[in-house]
Symmetry: C2
């Protein structure tokens, strides 16, 4: 690798074959050298999980000037951790998760394997960005995202991000966007989360659900931005401390 | 269930057979009616992951007055979500994860299945607490925790917790504690995370690691508290928005 080009580490949770990953690679090729370490199969909803009880492995899938692609048997977070330990010969300038097939805004940040990649990059001290498109279709149209993904990535390469802060970027399903909004995580909760059915083993449950916004009209929210045709960038912290509550609890015990 | 007693929903990530879970049940029996929905096998490091591609199921393990125990094929978060959908006949007064065999302080909040339970309870709007002991031993001694677990749970039952805030409570491995500290999440990162070895499939990697504190001497931190013999309570938010960065990014695009 030429050392004067930015180094971009990429992973995702939809797996190495996903269209979203391969579109991301295409968008970012002009911006730097890419190293991809992606799960060998879809691992949606894996959050920041790590593989504790079995070993993981990886193998080279593709190599050309400025682009190396590996697949890994582990979770999205494993992929990210393992890339640092095995295949990177220098620190990345940015760590990117995505492009996810599906919405990772609002509380989904907690369940998202894509954001698992991003949180891991951030915890290690590197500027990190997650890109997600609100469209689960395997053949979703990512073309409208190209110039936004490039612009946001270039901005982060130029400006960096503060320690402990990463970006959760979500795109509405649309052929064009009204612009970018810097957002807060919308408040709300998943309801009707399970579909109950009988199979040969007995009663089983498939995850499903509808999201119920509890502050749907707040224009500061990522959900509002997405519903209204904007690209939603939610600055996200990996410091989960509730500092206000630290103060309030001082006299609890 | 008698409706005048508090209802406590419990899950964990070490599985239904873990000593930590069964000690927690013993400690909390005097405080309320308990419903346990725990993984049917150990699922450490599962974070907030959800099972997207296969169905999950559960079954009754044990039932007596004031205590019902189920085991579930899913992740800790699945267990929590499924309990709400299937076995609870009213809202819990508190949701509790643990007692974990191992430390969930500092950045481990992101990887912890125990905290997956707690974050899920909190996202659904219920006061939620995670208890963890810094001892991975399957036969760890939980007895010194009893009165702290009871006191913290009673306090939360009395006072509640603010929306979007849960508690991450960690105990040092010790026969007694110096008291309770209300803490911040210690900053730092995992290093030397993989052990490389050859098996019949070729080169594989087992997760391991050492934690490197980057602000080790800060007396406000959960790691400091644990190292110095205190019970560390870290108030934890499920709103991951970095509000300071929202302001700073207003002129980025």
């Amino acid at each position: 690798m030429k050392k004067d080009r930015p180094l971009i580490l990429i992973s995702n949770d939809d797996g190495v074959a996903a269209k979203g990953l391969n579109e991301l690679i295409r968008f970012l090729r002009p911006l730097g050298d890419l190293v991809v370490m992606a799960p060998d199969a879809p691992r949606s909803g894996f959050a920041c999980s790590i593989t504790c009880h079995t070993p993981v492995s990886y193998e080279l899938v593709h190599e050309e000037e400025g682009l190396t692609i590996y697949k890994c048997s582990g979770t999205p977070t494993d992929c990210t951790k393992l890339a640092f330990y095995t295949v990177l010969d220098r620190n990345p300038d940015v760590v990117i998760g995505g492009i996810n097939h599906g919405d990772n805004s609002s509380v989904n940040v907690h369940y998202s394997g894509t954001m698992g990649v991003v949180i891991e990059g951030c915890l290690r001290g590197f500027p990190s960005i997650g890109f997600s498109l609100c469209d689960h279709d395997l053949d979703a149209d990512f073309a409208p995202l190209e110039r936004y993904v490039q612009r946001i990535t270039m901005k982060v390469l130029e400006e960096g991000l503060p320690a402990l802060t990463c970006l959760n970027v979500n795109f509405p399903k649309a052929s064009s966007f009204k612009g970018v909004k810097i957002c807060q995580q919308a408040k709300g909760l998943w309801v009707k989360e399970w579909i109950r059915r009988k199979d040969q083993e007995g009663l089983v449950f498939d995850i499903a659900g509808e999201f119920m916004d509890t502050d749907a009209d707040c224009e500061l929210n990522d959900h509002w931005a997405l519903r209204n045709g904007y690209v939603a960038i939610t600055p996200t912290t990996v410091d989960a401390t509730d500092y206000e509550m630290v103060k309030r609890m001082k006299d609890w015990f």
